[in-house]
Amino acid sequence: MYRSEIPGYVVLKDGTVYQGFGFAAPGRVFGEIVFNTGMTGYQEVITDPSYYGQMVTFTYPMNGNYGAADHLLESGAVHSRAIVVREAKNTNYNRTCPDAWVEWLHHQGVTGVGGVDTRALTRRIRAHGAMTACVAAGPDLKVNDLLEETRAYPSLSGRDLVRAVTCSEPYVVATSGARYHVVAFDYGMKRSILKNLLEVGCRVTVVPAAFTPRQVLELEPDGVFLSNGPGDPAPVEYAVASLRGLLGQVPVFGICLGHQLMALAVGFSTYKLKFGHRGINHPVKNYLKDAIEITSQNHGFAVAPPGGRPDSGTGVIWLPSTRATWSSSRTSVRYRSATST
């Protein structure tokens, strides 16, 4: 779709307005607007729970090229409730994708605004930071009203979004012949992570974010995995507290939000990045292997580089293991128990 008769708007908190056309589900969606630079994987992006509370603009201008399919879902729901694109396709010529994208979005109730100069929007976000915005499609929209509501809408910082996306009950996923038992804290876990754990021979018990150390240890895991998830790690205090009780008891590893929570648990701090890293082309240097690895990234917060030695009270020392090669943000950190070295 390169045009429609339905008006669409993207209204940023700073007063910038982008006009386009509306597609998929009409509506008004508020949240933080971020950009993703991947040229494929749009369905994976908006079903990734890490995008909860956010709206995505895709820098690649042709969106929906190959359609949509269940096997591409990263979770059972769409978490980015609105998207902003230059052009949206509504065809399904790829044999592995039975659904047409725009129709699928409509069915999922996702609001779309197309025809937008998404590069201009991306440059705005890059210059001024990810910010609260409204994406609206439909007749009778008043830009001034949208702007007012956008300004009144709470920012992501300081809000616990994990609560909204974590599972309510623990569940077990396993294939035959699993060698390890991993307990995975679901802060908003992507399906592909679960799939990867299964592929490397793990039986996985997925548990809600609020599980206590005792509940976890009762499951007698070989390791504890901390998943990705949306938003600011700082307000997810119950998770941090739970981790403090686990560190040193059992091997713990995590990515994304999980990794940030672990950092908080050992006494580091986290901070909000100006506009985050979202894409599938980011190189990371693995100092242990002296190698560059191309990664997919999706985070708006980062672990603060420690000013000095971390809190000695936690009993861990900090080792730099990988580092984004273009910025100082730590993409992963290894924590090792001081007593075990």
Binding site: Y2, R3, Y18, F35, T37, G38, M39, T40, G41, E44, T59, Y60, P61, M62, N65, Y66, A69, H71, L72, R86, E87, K89, T91, Y93, N94, R95, T96, C97, G115, D117, T118, R119, A120, T122, R123, R126, G279, I280, N281, H282, P283, K285, D290, A291, I292, I294, T325, W326
Partner: protein, 1146 residues
Amino acid sequence: MLLGSGPIVIGQACEFDYSGTQACKVLLEEGYQVVLVNSNPATIMTDPAFSHRTYIEPLVPEVVAKIIAKERPDALLPTLGGQTALNLAVALTEDGTLERYGVELIGANYAAIHRAEARDEFRTTMASIGLRVPESAVVRSLEEAHAALASGLRLPLIVRPSFTLGGHGGGVADSREVFDMVVKAGLDASPTHQVLLEESVIGWKEFELEVMRDLKDNVVIVCSIENVDPMGIHTGDSITVAPQQTLTDVQYQRLRDASLDIIRAIGVETGGSNIQFAYSPETDDLMVIEMNPRVSRSSALASKATGFPIAKIAAKLAVGYTLDEIPNDITKKTPACFEPTIDYVVVKTPRWAFEKFPLADARLTTHMKSVGENMAIGRTFKEAFQKSMRSRELDVRPDIPDDNGALLAMIAIPSAERYDLILEAIRRGVTLESIFRATMIDEWFLEEFREIIEAENRLKSFAVRPAFAESLPPTAGPRHEAQMGPALAGEAAAGANLSAVAASGPPAEGSAALATLPREELRQAKRLGFSDGRIAKLLGCTEPEVRARRLEDGITPAYKAVDTCAAEFEAYTPYFYSSYDEENEALPGEKERVIILGSGPNRIGQGIEFDYCCVHAVMEMREQGYDAIMVNCNPETVSTDYDTSDRLYFEPLTFEDVLNIVENEKPKGVIVQFGGQTPLKIAEQLHEAGVPILGTSQEAIDLAEDRERFGGVLQKLGLQAPPYGTARSAEEALAIADRIGYPVLARPSYVLGGRAMEIVYDRASLERYIHTAVKASPRHPVLIDRFLERSMEIDVDAVCDGDDVYIGAVMQHVEEAGVHSGDSACVIPPVTLGDEVVRRVEEQTAALALELGVIGLMNVQYALQQTDEGSTIYVLEVNPRGSRTVPFVSKATGVPLARVATKVIAGHRLRDLDLPGWEESVAAGRVPRRRDLTHVAVKEAVLPFPRFPGVDTTLGPEMKSTGEVMGVGPSFPVAFEKAQLAAGDRLPSKGTVFISVCDADKEAAVGVASTLARLGFRLLATEGTYLTLGRNGIEPELVLRYSQGLQAREAATARAKRNGGVDCGHDIVTIVDLIEAGEVDLVVNTPRGRGARADGYEIRRAALRRGVPAITTIAAAQAAVQAIEASFGGEVTVTCLQELYPGRGR
């Protein structure tokens, strides 16, 4: 030592000048001593400033070995000079040269090259990492091929010769009937006499990934490219799009993972590789088609498409850097290991030259046939596609049948016009489903085309009545229309000139339609990539009206940066494309700026030479303190490297697109004289739109190009031109020819590179020409010139500043008049003209330049006719612009002519520039020119005949060459021989020479034959030549002509049947059989008019098949014999430019 790729040929074009130039720059920056070898003088890389030692020498092992022995390089980098350089590296490894001189091969090692290039090894390597290649067999003979068929290989089979470029010599065998023929052609084309028979994946989807690896085994994917055309059409002949459009992330990651495995398994240690995949959407099968362990045409495209300079990074990796150590110039922040991601769509469209080779098979196959390409960038596929379509600059319009069934049948056969036909079919309501069945083009693309037509229809609905142009039947109008028909070509028409656009619609109603068109509709059309011209046609108004309306409504393009990162980081390198989006990132700079217009896609008659001139103009303008802004749409070139100019606009070179840039930049002016005919074509419109043209004025251009006005100039100066006339009808043409006398040179008035130009010897032939080849009409007159038989051609390049003229060089053509100057060998300094003729030519050139008011470069072509009464000099043509020979002149004389011209354009006076030979010439009362050359330089043309089976290899007034080489030596014969060797013709020092010449050449042939006989050659001749030579005391052996042999065979068979005896027909041997049997080492065969053409044709094609040098003009034969004599028993010496001109370069 860096190896270039030699002359421009189909499959290996100026992309390797781009990569080699980048590599030279990097290596110089890193502090290396750089030795460069390339036989192509038209390249930027062979400028003396780009290396320490620049050898313009033949790219053959024994010559390169000599240079190695002389220069003793530490390392050889062969991965940036295409297949030519890679093959040389293999040869120099195998013959022990590299080991003997302790030269390290860097970039790719011998084993890796072999694993990637030797087909069976490649196949095994792929199997070892679990990847499939199509089932195949390597065969070295027809018998082995039959055995492979018998052992279960299934048709259709693709035949790929080993070690050839662009799939040259390959083909598809889809039936048992053609199998033998295709296999034989492949075996002949392969230098190792080895072909791969491969199960066909025709119709599968084709993808390419550009991959880079460093010494620490870090790998990045630079770009994915999807071929819109499915498998079965060479990627060089396919429309391609980047990034890939139709695969899911899961499918794309599969290609990505496979690419990482492949580059590791092949063992390319550092640098870039191109990997081609076939993917079947039906079965989800993936196959690896090929892997090039070097930079390629696709990597040049990927570099331009992403802003990631693959060749530059490859050079850095080759000397030991790792990907994370190399900063990205564009962002300055990210390292080279950051995989590029793009926020636009790139479409590449090839450009063919089938109109030049009417007998060639114009079907597109696995064997590349295009001569150039354009690239367009847009925010969406539709926008990029439409921009790419109009960047083709077509000058021949496709014939489209009225019947939809016939149309679909044409669409099913891949051709140069395929996309014009598809758009027309959709326009006529043919279903996407049936187009898909005919083409296997992914419906995703067809749907995009449908949306373009949908938008067309929407615009048409605003027209008051169907536009006049639309109601014309598609086949109306002459076949050779200068401009594409509006209803047919869609965006191709946008390149057409304004007056034609204005003439074709009824303005009154059209203007009314434009007035009722809502602003939003106009904006939407522009966003989809429609040109103003196209919109005008759809509405039935004029292009200027659309433009005026658009500006009134504030609908102007926004320029977006190509930044490798989709705006995630700030971009510092200004590389832009237009889109009708909101935010314009290309805000004009502070400095005064000039725009230099490039030459668009390479084609025959307009190639790398013009890019060379443009790049020099850019470099000089920067030196003069201006911001130099480059506009071009050819992804293969140095001019479209983002660090060549201060600002690069990757845009079509149409009036509209250029004017938009001018309005955005507000430059001091635009330079049109370096990009060949492309910018010159729009100069008038730019001038009329108030754009300052720098250098030669529009008035002067017109004076030179308008025949009648130019005739006045000649008359005023007392110069002679062949008698001529302009015919607007067949009757007029015949009357003119009768008046001026036969033979005449006939040509359409609007052509480039001698298109459809023919020498006509009599009235009947002229009638045929005028009725069938070119239809004369008032709109498209035919020019008739007296053809000067047996005259010598002279080319001059000169620079004029309004007061003075500086001659670059006077060049003498080796071939006589009648062979297009672009196809003729030529020599600096002239060898047989004599100083008096040279003086007169210089003076005439100066007079012409001053009278026309040229400011900058000018090229003049003369014919010299020598009779007993003396010599007469005729002016054949004046081009008030940079010519094809400017780089050759610059390399041969050490005077960078394009830069001198640019200085003049910037306001300098020639007399202040301290030019070589100025003082000396002035003192001698001569026009200034360099006069101290102690060497001779020969330029030889390189022809694409091996690519076009069935096409005759003779030369004529229509240009056919794709590239050129230069040979330098102490004398003409030595330089000529080197030029021949560089062009791929190795003149024999012993063996057998076959001579057969037309009557006019018989006398001259005696001299040629007697020298050869004296040198110990065995001579063969057919009847007529045999008798002539015999009368002059030379005794060649008599051989049968091909046609005589056929007759004799038939007679023998008939006799045997009649008498019941043995059929001795198969014992009859003709010259063609001898050539096929490899018994002939040189062929001299000059065509003798139309009648006996068939014989000569068979001889020349046989020679081509066997790779035997075949000389088709007596002048070239004389030069060749001199060359053979000069080198008899002698040693080749190698010389670099820095030795010829001390003080130039590094």
